[in-house]
């Protein structure tokens, strides 16, 4: 096999292997649970209607941003578990800023987005500074910050909330219509609109790719992630990188809740979707920290979740099967990539060894 063929083949082999394994394992779970395996798969694989496609894309947009935020940390060996807290604090801040309408129309939107990015970055930055200055593991500090975020938002929400009589949901003041981000009725008005924020998410993905792979900063970040010692020896200021990476990760995390806030909910309340940050961790793993991989992972997760209602209502299967499938997919992806990576490494080492088998005449360096 030539190199030109091997690389793309290996790249396709890993996800293919993972999906087949996940399919088999999930079927096994279904059989053990005594659920109708065939029906479950045919329901899951039923092509979604236009309306569901819109839902899937919208949910994936949110997941995408979350996974991107996690991936920035991952690339530097930082485990930002705090995306969940970061986006909730940031979304709340944005909801207040946009809801109070301090600036009119689109300016209010821009201000809200800025507020979200800054608040998310600051919240993650706390963990970054603690890690850089005091060596506190970011895993622990971000988990703790998640708890603090929950309480802080709950407390602040009660301060600023407006409550409709008879409602049990409290929320921030509703964002004025002219500050909302319009949706894209790509599949017809009846079927709902795709979040306008999908464009922002795509730009973030492109920016992430460019930053990491094309810039000096990205190189330093990846180098630090691979080997902090080598990065230090090469002149990287690792402490500054830690703080910067956490700020970036938190900034993107700040955007996570905005598609929902500015595109459909228009208020941050007690029923605002939570847990997106944790889904982001799984999706970042699934997408191998690659912007396109993450997009596919986000779509897959969103698609599976979209199918959980028909599964329950039409096939009478517990929606937990969806969560189990998601978990199995993450595991199989990680394992199959590791298997394929090792195989690829062996292939490469062999190739290098072959290259060493050049005729004796080419071997220089022995005679001086």
């Amino acid at each position: 096999m030539t190199e030109r063929l091997t690389k793309p083949l290996l790249a396709v082999a890993a996800p293919a292997l993972a999906l087949v394994a996940a399919f088999a394992l999930t079927s096994l779970v279904l059989i053990i649970a005594g659920d109708p395996t065939g029906e479950v798969w045919s329901t899951i694989l039923t092509p979604p209607e236009a309306r569901n496609v819109v839902n899937v894309v919208n949910a994936a947009t949110v997941y995408y941003l979350s996974a991107l935020a996690v991936a920035i940390g991952f690339r530097m060996n930082l485990f930002n578990i705090g995306v969940d807290g970061q986006y909730r604090v940031a979304t709340f801040a944005a909801a207040v800023v946009a809801g109070e309408a301090w600036l009119p129309g689109i300016l209010g939107t821009v201000l809200a987005v800025l507020a979200a990015v800054l608040v998310g970055a600051a919240w993650a930055g706390i963990a970054g500074v603690l890690r850089a200055s005091r060596g506190v593991s970011e895993v622990i500090s971000t988990i703790m910050l998640n708890f603090i975020a929950t309480s802080l938002v709950a407390y602040s929400l009660r301060r600023v909330a407006v409550r409709e009589e008879g409602s049990n949901i409290i929320g921030t003041r509703e964002i004025p219509a002219e500050s909302r981000v319009p949706g894209l009725p790509l599949l017809g008005e009846v079927n709902g609109e795709i979040y306008g924020f999908v464009v922002v998410a795509a730009l973030c993905g492109a920016g992430y790719w460019f930053l990491l792979n094309r810039t000096r900063f990205g190189f330093d970040l990846r180098a630090t992630g691979q080997s902090p010692e080598a990065a230090v020896a090469s002149g990287v200021n690792v402490k500054r990188m830690i703080v910067t990476a956490m700020l970036l990760s938190g900034g993107v995390a700040g955007l996570v809740g905005l598609p929902i806030l500015l595109g459909s909910a228009y208020t941050y309340g007690s029923t605002f979707q939570s847990g997106i940050g944790f889904a982001g961790i799984a999706i970042a793993l699934l997408g191998r920290n690659h912007p396109v991989g993450i997009a596919l992972g986000a779509l897959l997760f969103a698609y599976l979740e979209e199918q959980s209602n028909p599964l329950q209502i039409l096939v009478d299967v517990s929606p937990d099967i969806v969560k189990i499938t998601q978990g199995i997919i993450v595991l199989t992806v990680v394992i199959s990539y590791e298997v394929v990576r090792r195989y690829g490494q062996r292939v490469e080492q062999r190739r290098v060894a072959q290259a060493l088998e050049r005729p004796e005449g080419e071997r220089a360096g022995v005679t001086t």
């Binding site: 000096r216 190189f219 990287v236 200021n237 060894a353 072959q354 290259a355 060493l356 088998e357 001086t368």
Partner: protein
């Protein structure tokens, strides 16, 4: 588990006949024949890639041979895993230690072999017995992180013996040791041999091989080419057997030293909390075209000195100047940009991104300078082109610049690092153990490059545990002891023995240089 009864010395412990191992496209071993007796130290020498490691992996059950037979104590065995090898009495001490830093010596030894003597007093007694009978001096309750390299190696040997090994393989055990530690190791090995064990010793360092081995087998291109009695050969002859051609040596050429001081370190100290400074008032100057060698027993401040000059170590006092520029307040990156290059001691940890392609490794340390960077962006095209130049000029054996660094052999990795650090017209090169663990061919090439650069006016700070290398390359040699520069020697007048005693702080010899 069955502990083989120690057979009388002289009896064959291992016989490998006709061993062949082929990886697709590469013959790693071909018709390897080897006989190792009990009560003897048997050395295996050969260039990197000559097939020594593959052979040892076969003997340790990591890989299965395609052909040939393995006999241990006269009976044919089939080793399909290290566990098989261990129960057949084969133990291996790897070049890279596999110890848990935060556990004690005893815990490290027992870890994974709990079934032998449990983890309690019986285990402790057994460890102490082994230490006693083989003269291995280690404190069982000491934390491994507190141990020096030599002691760690003894722990590795202890681990192997604890598991009942009668045949001990050591993979380049002296690569990480200083002369005194090497002597200690050899004493230990001789003890093992006295006790009737068979010791297989892999090394590049021919002098050592000649001084310790009872038999030497030379490998070249996957095959065993000769087994000789060390009494009958010189190091030179042995080396010629290894590479099959004439040999280089690190002889200095005419001095190229000029008057222009390039690197000036003055009053550098590194205090620590416990009051024992790691570096104390170090001052040195290196002139244009000069190689200053630093000799010292490992752990006497060499690593700290390098990190202080590179600006990687917080808490350093004193000043570092490059020509007219004061570097003291500058970051590592700024110092590199000023023209200081750095070949780190541990290439895997400090020198390379193992899972990145070679061209990215070319960028490492040069992130801010052309050809690696263009403005804020990484210039991939130019980096790749320049990597190809390095591959060509420094004879890095690789199919191309997109190969992962991990896939290269140690010598080729090091040649890439040397080529990288010589790029961009550096003024000063800090070279820490530049030829550690590389084969003879690569070593000669690296020496040649350092000499060439010196001729062109490069100032080099050379830190090495290889005293021949220091003497051969340096214009001056300073000895570092407990964080201080204690004496200076003229390499043309000094012997390794004199250097050795100065390094350990023993005797009046220390001052002979001046």
């Amino acid at each position: 588990m069955a502990q083989a009864q120690v057979a009388p010395p002289g009896q064959l412990a291992v016989r490998l006949s006709g061993i062949g191992k082929q990886f697709p496209g590469v013959v790693a071993n071909d018709d390897v024949n080897l006989e190792v007796r009990r009560g003897a130290i048997h050395a295996i020498v050969g260039e990197n890639g000559a097939g020594k490691s593959t052979l040892m992996k076969i003997l340790y059950g990591v890989q299965k041979p395609d052909s040939g037979t393995i006999e241990i104590d006269g009976s044919r065995v089939d080793l399909s895993s290290p566990a098989d090898a261990i129960s057949a009495g084969v133990g291996m001490v790897f070049q890279h230690f596999m110890l848990a830093d935060n556990l004690t010596v005893l815990e490290n030894v027992v870890l994974g072999a709990e079934s032998r003597h449990g983890i309690g007093d019986a285990a402790r007694k057994e460890v102490l017995r082994i230490c006693e009978s083989y003269g291995l001096h280690v404190e069982p309750d000491q934390l491994v992180e507190r141990l020096g390299v030599g002691e760690r190696q003894r722990v590795e040997i202890l681990k192997v013996l604890y598991r009942g090994a009668q045949i001990v393989i050591l993979d380049e055990p002296t690569a990480v040791l200083v002369p005194q530690e090497v002597e200690e190791l050899f004493t230990n090995l001789r003890e093992l041999k006295e006790e009737g064990l068979a010791v297989l010793f892999i090394s590049h360092k021919l002098d050592e091989v000649l001084s310790v081995a009872d038999e030497v087998t030379v490998m070249r291109r996957g095959s065993t080419v000769a087994t000789v009695d060390p009494a009958d050969v010189t190091a030179r002859q042995l080396a010629e057997l290894m590479v099959g051609s004439e040999l280089p040596s690190p002889t200095t050429e005419a001095s190229t030293v000029t008057d222009e001081v390039l690197l000036a370190v003055s009053g550098v100290s590194l205090p620590t909390a416990d009051g024992r400074p790691l570096l104390e008032d170090i001052s040195l100057q290196i002139r244009c075209g000069e190689v200053l060698g630093i000799a010292g027993v490992e752990g006497n401040g060499q690593a700290e000195l390098v990190e202080a000059i590179m600006g990687m170590r917080p808490g350093v006092t004193g000043s570092v100047r490059l020509g007219e520029r004061d570097l003291t307040a500058l970051s590592t990156r700024a110092r590199r940009e000023c023209g200081i290059s750095y070949i780190p001691e541990d290439r895997h940890r400090h020198g390379l991104l193992l899972d990145s392609p070679l061209w990215e490794n070319r960028v490492l340390g040069h992130q801010t300078r052309p050809p690696s960077a263009r403005g804020m962006l990484i210039d991939k095209t130019a980096s790749r082109r320049d990597t190809e130049r390095i591959i060509e000029q420094y004879d890095v054996r690789t199919p191309g610049p997109d190969v992962l660094a991990r896939a290269l052999s140690g010598g080729n990795q090091q040649k890439l690092i040397v080529g990288r650090e010589m790029s961009g017209k550096p003024q000063v090169l800090i070279a820490a153990h530049p030829t550690r663990g590389v084969d003879v061919g690569a070593q000669a090439a690296i020496w040649r490059h350092i000499k060439d650069a010196r001729r062109e006016g490069l100032a080099v700070l050379l830190i090495s545990a290889d005293l021949d290398e220091l003497i051969g390359l340096s214009d001056r040699i300073n000895v570092i002891l407990r964080g201080r520069l204690v004496s200076e020697f003229d390499p043309s007048q000094v012997t390794p023995q004199q250097l050795g005693s100065a390094m350990t702080g023993a005797g009046p010899d220390a001052e002979t240089g001046r």
